[in-house]
């Protein structure tokens, strides 16, 4: 793969076999009704998708629910494997498909920072080094030893975001992270974006079309019929907006 490409997706296809409701799936069904067949509905999430994301590019993905956005991110993050086609990644990729993955409500905020940080790929030493920064960026220094279940959801997101940005990476995969949090938190996110735009490759999935238009270099529009278009942010967002 050429050096200036971060993510290369080639002829990517992914479909899921979903057991039909009422078909014999569990052992119990199979025993009770041995003649009944296991039936599946095939659901195609992505069909023959190809694109490249250049290094340092802010690349956004838009499209209606069910168009395959999340499936695409999971394929790129290595959580799913392609059915056919290829995904190639150049550099260290950190997926934020959800902020605060692995947060445990019964643990203290401090313990959760360690847990989540290590899950995201930091070593314990690195967390030791960053932990004060993380709490001060999240403005939660006074709450470090509180159980996280007593945090408001906004506080949890702030904490999670502060951990996430400490993870060194070349490629960030962001799924709807801006959909949560209050106005002030969103400002902080955007300030962070301004800082890293151009330095890191960002793959961004959002329904927030304003921020897509504002930050993206290019936009991939996934459609419900599994066709797609790639192009200039303004043009794509406008076209997409006309469909509803």
């Amino acid at each position: 793969m050429e050096d200036n490409i971060s993510i290369k997706v080639e002829n990517l296809t992914k479909s899921f076999k979903i057991p039909e409701h009422g078909s014999a799936v569990t052992l119990q069904d199979r025993f009770v009704n041995p003649l009944k067949k296991k039936k599946f509905i095939k659901f195609t999430a992505l069909n023959d998708l190809s694109f490249e994301v250049k290094k340092g590019e802010f690349f956004s993905v838009i499209g209606p629910n069910g168009a395959g956005k999340s499936t695409l991110l999971k394929l790129i993050s290595g959580i799913y494997i392609p059915e056919s086609g290829n995904v190639e990644i150049n550099g260290k990729l950190v997926p934020f498909l959800e902020l605060g993955v692995g947060f445990n409500p019964d643990l203290s905020a401090r313990e959760n920072v360690y847990l989540n940080g290590v899950i995201l790929g930091l070593t314990k030493k690195e967390v030791d080094k960053y932990i004060d920064d993380i709490f001060s960026f999240a403005e939660l220094t006074d709450f470090a030893d509180m159980s996280i279940k007593n945090f408001s959801s906004g506080m949890q997101v702030r904490l999670a975001f502060s951990i996430a940005i400490k993870v060194e990476s070349d490629i960030l995969v962001l799924d709807e992270v801006l959909a949560v949090g209050d106005g002030e938190f969103q400002k902080k996110c955007f300030a962070y974006f301004d800082e890293i735009v151009g330095k890191k490759t960002i793959l961004f999935v959002s329904h927030g079309l304003t921020s897509v238009k504002k930050y993206s270099n290019r936009v991939l529009w996934l459609k419900e019929d599994k066709s797609y278009e790639i192009g200039d942010p303004k043009e794509m967002v406008e076209k997409y907006s006309q469909t509803f």
Binding site: T26, K74, I79, L97, G102, N104, E111, L115, I119, T123
Partner: protein
């Protein structure tokens, strides 16, 4: 294994450990109290009868019973926790790509920690009751523990994935383990079983491990070492095969939760 993998492993063990007993007042003591009460009940009911049948003093029967219980408990927890490990972390597995095997190892580590603590207790009990413990016996028990751990690890590499596809496995396994409890002569001497049924115990590896541990702890004798070594070899083989199977099939698992 890089640094982060090891840190992740430690975090998982730590969290599970904290969570398992969080919110209960006695917390960690439940690890000790539960087997202790089990022990007490069985001891009160069976010590006289078993002692007579096998010619054990009540001190010896205490060690006999304890060692049976803890080896069985280790096996039981290892099978159940190892098998449930992937399911338990489903929420994490569908969100982020990390080395999945860590999840299996850390669950088994929980069982191992309990086992080691229980072993220490046996040693204390044995000392208090004046049952002689030889260093070589302890070494042998160590070898048996390693063999058991590897076997559990190897098997869990298969079962943890199977459980995702066939949830019934959980219940089936619980039944099998319950049967195994009685088939392993945990609380009664083998002599109490009619002769023609003793082969059940003889062909049951868990029972043989328990027996070897007992002989070592109570009489200071190293017995059945070829069997243990054979099992160690088999366990290593199962681990190797298990890793192949696991690494091949784990990639698709996120779709099946």
């Amino acid at each position: 294994m890089n640094n982060n993998d090891f840190d992740l492993y430690k975090q998982f063990v730590k969290t599970t450990f904290k969570m398992r007993y969080k919110g209960s007042i006695l917390g960690f003591f439940w690890v000790l109290l539960k087997p202790f009460f089990m022990f007490l009940i069985l001891f009160l009911i069976f010590s006289h009868m078993s002692g007579q049948a096998a010619g054990l003093t009540s001190q010896q029967y205490a060690v006999y019973l304890l060692s049976g219980l803890i080896v069985y408990t280790f096996f039981n927890e290892g099978v159940i926790w190892g098998m449930g490990s992937i399911m338990e972390r489903a929420g994490l597995i569908v969100k982020i790509n990390f080395k999945r095997e860590i999840v299996v190892v850390s669950s088994l580590t929980m069982a191992l920690i309990n086992f080691v603590i229980n072993l220490l207790i046996i040693c204390i009990v044995a000392l208090v009751l004046n049952v002689h413990l030889l260093p070589v016996s302890l070494l042998y028990v160590g070898l048996i523990s390693i063999t058991l751990f590897l076997a559990l690890y190897g098997v869990s590499l298969f079962t943890s994935l199977w459980l995702v596809h066939v949830r019934d496995l959980q219940h089936i396994m619980e039944l099998v383990l319950q049967l195994l409890f009685y088939a392993s002569a945990v609380f009664f001497p083998v002599e109490m079983i009619p002769e023609r049924y003793r082969f059940i115990v003889y062909y049951n590896p868990v029972a043989r491990f328990i027996k070897a541990v007992r002989e070592a702890l109570i009489y200071g004798k190293i017995t059945d070492i070829y069997f243990v070594l054979l099992c160690l070899g088999l366990a290593i083989l199962v681990v190797l095969l298990g890793r192949l199977y696991f690494n091949k099939n784990i990639k698709k698992i996120a779709e099946y939760f």
